[in-house]
């Protein structure tokens, strides 16, 4: 963790909460986009990011300053997103139980997102990964964390990260080949 962040953490812990904003502002955009890719929904992404920021502020005292603040923040965000996704699945199942006529797939992460988001090829590909594969791929390949950092953020072993990363890359490659083949045929 760099000196500036360390000083800001000290300030927040000493009671100056206005120091929290400069501490998290550098991650403002990346946090929201990671949440969006994890949840697949813009509104949920905002909710998850807000909750992650609030938790980070509340539990800043437990942050180990030898670790990276960014990784710690990402770890919180991944946990919050996972919880939100689980709640969404549960409520969708409940809705389906109450209204069996509604046969539309409510598990679809693209549900409720705009047309622009539906068109996103990246989001479309990510939808075919398991939650863990998605987390590992996003952190390692898009956020460019190392294998060890990814393992630290997700609270699992580096071996587990490698296994899920391998599966994710294979699935994504197959998905891209399939979609590009389909597009080639339509053109």
């Amino acid at each position: 963790m760099d000196e500036k962040e360390n000083r800001l953490v000290e300030l927040v812990l000493s009671g100056r909460r206005e120091a929290f904003e400069p501490l998290v502002t550098p991650y403002r955009s990346s946090l929201l986009n990671l949440a969006f890719r994890l949840t697949g929904d813009a509104e949920e992404a905002k909710e998850a990011s807000q909750e992650a920021l609030l938790r980070a502020f509340r539990y800043l005292g437990t942050f180990n300053r030898r670790r990276s603040f960014r990784n710690w923040l990402m770890g919180i965000l991944v946990n919050v997103s996972r919880t939100l996704a689980a709640e969404r699945r549960k409520s969708a199942r409940r809705r389906l139980d109450l209204d069996p006529e509604n046969t539309a797939s409510t598990d679809d992460p693209a549900r409720g997102v705009g047309e622009k988001e539906l068109r996103s090829r990246l989001m479309d590909s990510l939808r075919h990964l398991s939650p863990r594969e998605k987390e590992v791929f996003l952190l390692r390949d898009l956020e460019e964390r190392t294998i060890l950092e990814t393992a630290g953020i997700l609270g699992c072993s580096p071996v587990s990260v490698r296994v899920h990363l391998s599966a994710a890359r294979k699935k994504l490659r197959d998905r891209l080949l399939r979609t590009s083949g389909r597009r080639g045929r339509t053109e």
Binding site: R17, F36, T62, D141, L165, R169, L177
Partner: protein
């Protein structure tokens, strides 16, 4: 390395995530296997394409008003309040198991110690009370003499003489009289028949 093994490593090799030793073994295989080389190429291209998509596709941005609202919602930070709980609960699992075994061992030891025979209900007399369990026939004369205070307190009353009802009280009682003027000491020893014999040393 055969093709099957190489293919299982290719996704990691595409992102340079293989350990050095495995990487060099895979490189040796790729040099002589064009099919695996092609496979690696498709994986690399797919990965690059996804990274480009991530850069190009529209990124979400916080509207300034929402960002302000989040910053306003911040309450007071908890200052290291969870330090202790983090220390207690983030111990490795084996530490909990060892602690559990130690606690069980301590409990077992305590149980063993607490089951030692109670001196009051023991068939062996405690030291200094020989006279209490020695029968009248076996008692030698003069009998062991307890101190005056103890004798007066413990053996002040006659014991049960009924043969079918063994008494928990001692079968012999002693009384000691000491004259304050002359220093004369008189020991009275009673047996189970409550007969007394006088012993003047």
């Amino acid at each position: 390395m055969n093709c099957r093994r190489a293919r299982s490593l290719l996704p990691l090799a595409a992102g340079s995530d293989l350990p050095t030793r495995l990487g060099s073994r895979l490189a040796a295989h790729l040099e002589r296997c064009p099919a695996c080389r092609k496979e690696l190429e498709t994986l690399r291209r797919a990965l690059e394409e996804l990274k480009t998509l991530a850069r190009e596709e529209g990124r979400l941005e916080w509207p300034e008003s929402e960002w302000r609202a989040v910053m306003q919602r911040l309450g007071p930070a908890k200052e290291r309040k969870r330090r202790l709980s983090a220390f207690v609960f983030r111990r490795p699992a084996w530490l909990w198991q060892v602690s559990l075994v130690l606690v069980a061992a301590a409990a077992a030891l305590w149980l063993l110690l607490s089951e030692r025979p109670d001196p009051e209900h023991s068939s062996f007399p405690p030291s200094g009370q020989n006279a209490a369990v020695v029968g009248p026939e076996e008692a030698t004369f003069p009998a062991p003499v307890p101190r005056a205070a103890e004798a007066a307190e413990e053996h002040a009353f006659p014991v049960s003489r009924h043969p079918s009802r063994p008494s928990a009280r001692p079968s012999i009682s002693n009384l000691v009289f000491v004259s304050g003027e002359s220093g004369l000491t008189v020991h009275w020893v009673f047996n189970s028949e409550f007969e007394w014999k006088e012993n003047i040393p």
